[in-house]
Point group: C2
Chain length 326, copies 2
């Protein structure tokens, strides 16, 4: 198992320069006064393909050796990783094949195809997506790109944390808490590497949906636990079964306690992102902001950074969230 | 009449460093392929107070001499300039009094008050807001901050154009067209100063709502014309009666033709900003993007920059725009 380090994150930042969006760090001082703590938002909804996933995908794909590039890449994803890999492959003129469940939202399938990827649909109930992906890799000699248990993917996601650290250092501000939306833990691990290097005193936290808090529970006992359910939350982007092996090796060393929030709290965070930060957040991408908003007493007087990790949300759902009927 | 120059814009950028959000320049390559031209979006919805207005307000207020600061500032506005001035005054520990119409949206009055400003409400039908503002200035010795016909305000708005020029130069890209949402023309003039200095060959265009295209018509005849109506568009942020005197002196020298779009086209642009750029745009702030989308044939093969100038929109209206029922 190769564990990425800060050096890998810095190298990834070099590869991503001019390719990924350098997202700003947003702050609304009058909101801070209402909340009782200082809140910075990192809007990765503005990232290419609408989520942070482009960072890791581009870093991983750009490290594939020349001889193997023509054989293309394969990824399994129902959403944001699919789009990230497809777009990175398009930029690097590589063929991408994405294995997506046949019940994936049509808009996500369409957006993945739009980037030029071949989409292979499978039946969630009766087919094994990993077997399908393995078959394609074996047949074509393609490179499999795991959504989080890949050191280059983790290093790429870490560039988000590097930007946060740079912006805070420039302003002379030290964060007390950094909140990260956590599925398999790749973004969390990459951000932890970057933040820990600059701010060893900052507590970094995994943020998950209630009922899918495998990371929170795994951190408590020190080994990887699984979720009982595979679906049943609006936060579709981060419903992974259990922590990744590599990500957990990093996160178990660097993270503080984990948090879990309800769908209703995620929806409230989406409304705050809309009203205060003028950003579009998807439910799963809003759980870190939701964690900040739901734990105001605990964070009182502190400086808190929350990553809005994605904004790929259906307009109908977004309208219902704004109207309070979601 | 003092006409600001590029030097004033550069000086404003120095004052705004670390105070205003350095907004990124967004691009969606696969959208470009669909459109047939290259489109960059400058998301000023992410700016402090949710619109570019903070730039000009902060620049103007920070130039008020020490001896006059204690007497405070006065502004007339029903929306974005109000919030920009109020927030700039809060940061600079100055008193702000904002004269707002009694029928202004409650949320805009509340957001202005939240920044610590005194709000003086007036009756649009029976009272003269300029007279009220003048009275306050005479009584308190306060400084009046015009929303666009003020050289420091124009220079501050120009920092948005300076950032666009810097980002494009860094990428080695020359814009063919720069589209700016135009009310009184302050943002347009400031952006024109900055863009013209770096890209003399770029055509800079005013973008207005149909029926409120005073700038488009004024540019055609070379003198300032007024609109027939004062209301009747969803683009409330940019329904000014006629071009500003200072802004027109700059714009008539530097601008190409003007454009006008319908409310329906502005709403379509809001949906594109949501789906493709994950940004919240208000109707008036979306007319530049709407102009790009509505004139695809004219812009074919070109590089186009559109400024999304603000995102202060009511959630109910936004939900209706997403649902196609606005």
């Amino acid at each position: 198992m190769i564990i990425p380090t800060l050096d890998d994150v810095v190298a990834a930042a070099g590869r991503l320069a001019g390719k990924a969006v350098r997202t700003p760090l947003l702050n609304v001082p009058v909101l801070d006064e209402q909340l009782g703590f200082r809140l910075f938002l990192k809007p990765e909804n503005l990232q290419r393909t609408g989520s942070f996933k482009f960072r890791g995908a581009y870093n991983a794909l750009s490290c594939i050796e020349e001889a193997r590039r023509a054989s293309g890449v394969v990824a399994c994803s129902s959403g944001n990783h699919a789009q990230g890999v497809a777009e990175a492959a398009r930029i690097l003129s590589m063929k991408a094949t994405i294995v997506m469940p046949s019940d994936a939202p049509a808009i996500k399938v369409e957006r993945t195809r739009r980037s030029g990827a071949d989409v292979v649909l499978y039946d969630r109930e009766n087919e094994d997506r990993d077997a399908i992906a393995n078959d394609i890799c074996a047949r074509d000699g393609a490179t499999f790109v795991h959504p989080y248990d890949n050191p280059l993917v983790i290093a790429g996601q870490g560039t988000c944390g590097l930007e946060i650290a740079q912006d805070l250092e420039l302003s002379g501000i030290s964060p007390d808490h950094v909140l990260v939306c956590t599925g398999g833990g790749g973004l969390t691990a990459g951000v932890a590497l970057a933040i820990h290097a600059s701010f060893a005193g900052a507590a970094i936290h995994s943020c998950e949906p209630v009922g899918f808090d495998d990371y929170r529970r795994s951190l408590e006992v020190g080994r990887r636990l699984a979720n009982a359910k595979a679906s049943g939350s609006a936060c579709d982007a981060i419903l992974t079964p259990s922590p990744g092996e590599i990500s957990f090796a990093i996160n178990s060393a660097l993270l503080g306690q984990g948090y879990a929030v309800s769908d209703a709290e995620a929806f409230h965070a989406m409304r705050i992102a809309f009203n205060e930060f003028k950003c579009v957040g998807e439910p799963g991408g809003s759980v870190a902001l939701a964690t900040a908003l739901a734990n105001g007493r605990e964070f009182a007087g502190k400086t808190v950074v929350a990553i809005l990790s994605g904004g790929n949300v259906d307009p109908d759902l977004f309208a219902r969230v704004l109207g309070g009927t979601a």
